[in-house]
């Protein structure tokens, strides 16, 4: 008997940057290594990056105590400056903890951009993972605001 916890989360942000710059912050590995870490104690390192439909990114997310998560993202739809959809699998020590589908919708809003990130999550290890998504992504999108304002 397996039990999968399913959840959907919508995170909306208004950024003081044009859609082109917001999109570029997702496209650039260098930018993502900066903002994807939820705080300064976590390091995100890409071991594979291929931002195009059909491409796959692999990252290692290392926490202060050395605990490492591996993520594997597969890009399934990319419309420049408008939409990015990818699936994200998270592993610890080779065991898959969750699978999620992430969509990023970007639209002009005044002089800036409105970004809606929708996470549809299936966790194989219970609700804690769902809370982890909420905390991790909320922090990352706030970091993205800082990167865009630099």
């Amino acid at each position: 008997m397996s039990a999968i916890a399913h959840a959907t989360m919508v995170l909306e942000r208004i950024y003081k940057a044009a859609p082109a710059r917001v999109f570029a912050a997702w496209e650039s590995v260098e930018a993502r290594e900066k903002w994807a870490a939820p705080n300064e104690n976590v390091r995100v390192r890409y071991t594979q990056a291929d931002f195009r439909e059909g491409g796959i990114d692999v990252t290692h997310c290392v926490e202060a105590d050395g605990k490492t998560f591996e993520t594997r993202n597969a890009y399934l739809s990319i419309e420049r400056e408008t939409r990015i959809v990818f699936t994200e699998q998270i592993f610890r020590e080779g065991v898959q903890l969750s699978a999620a589908i992430v969509s990023v919708e970007i639209a002009p809003a005044g002089a800036g951009a409105r970004q809606v990130v929708t996470l549809q999550i299936s966790s194989f290890v219970g609700d804690d993972m769902v809370r982890g998504y909420d905390q991790g992504w909320t922090a990352a999108l706030d970091q993205l605001a800082k990167v865009l304002e630099q």
Binding site: M1, S2, I4, H6, T8, E53, A74, L76, S77, E79, T82, R83, V85, T87, Q89, Q96, A99, A100, I101, S103, E105, A107, R114, V116, T118, Q120, I121, S122, F124
Partner: protein, 151 residues
């Protein structure tokens, strides 16, 4: 903002067949092609199947009543034999992507048979009706699975 619809739906089915038999219908190329891709008024144009974690199932098909060529590009994400199957899939119509989904098939022992819980998280790019149509399509698909197992 792009016209996208996000939806999650859950379909439950009870089968008289064991989890091993239900799982095999998803895991075997010949079986999967027979009950999932084929039948009804659909013509299969191409079909490839590589059932392992990270492997792909790619097929294209068309309705005998319409010219549109449809494509399904599936990646198997997590496989626990006789228990669970997680896959993601994208669908194209004439080369244009119109949906991306994450699907979970949970197979649970129930008496001499099994209970299947199919959950799909979908993102649909071409209108709000697409989610309801997908749910109806998946419901029909799980009926086809039952017919295949019972044949």
């Amino acid at each position: 903002m792009t016209q996208t619809t996000h939806a999650t739906f859950v379909i439950e089915r009870a089968y008289k067949h064991s989890p091993a038999k239900v799982f095999a219908a998803w895991a075997d190329a010949k079986a999967k092609r027979a009950w999932f891709a084929g039948g009804d008024a659909w013509e299969i144009l191409s079909f490839s199947f590589d059932f392992r974690e990270g492997g792909k199932e790619i097929y294209s098909f068309k309705s005998v009543n319409a010219p549109d060529i449809l494509g399904n590009d599936t990646t198997f994400n997590d496989i626990k034999p006789n228990e669970r199957l997680i896959f993601t899939y994208a669908m194209d119509r004439n080369g244009i992507r119109f949906s991306v989904s994450l699907a979970c098939v949970d197979i649970i022992t129930a008496g001499a048979g099994s209970r299947v819980i199919y959950t799909e998280h979908g993102i649909f790019f071409d209108g709000a009706k697409a989610a309801a149509m997908r749910e109806a399509g998946c419901s029909h698909m799980l009926e086809k699975l039952n017919a295949y197992l019972s044949a």
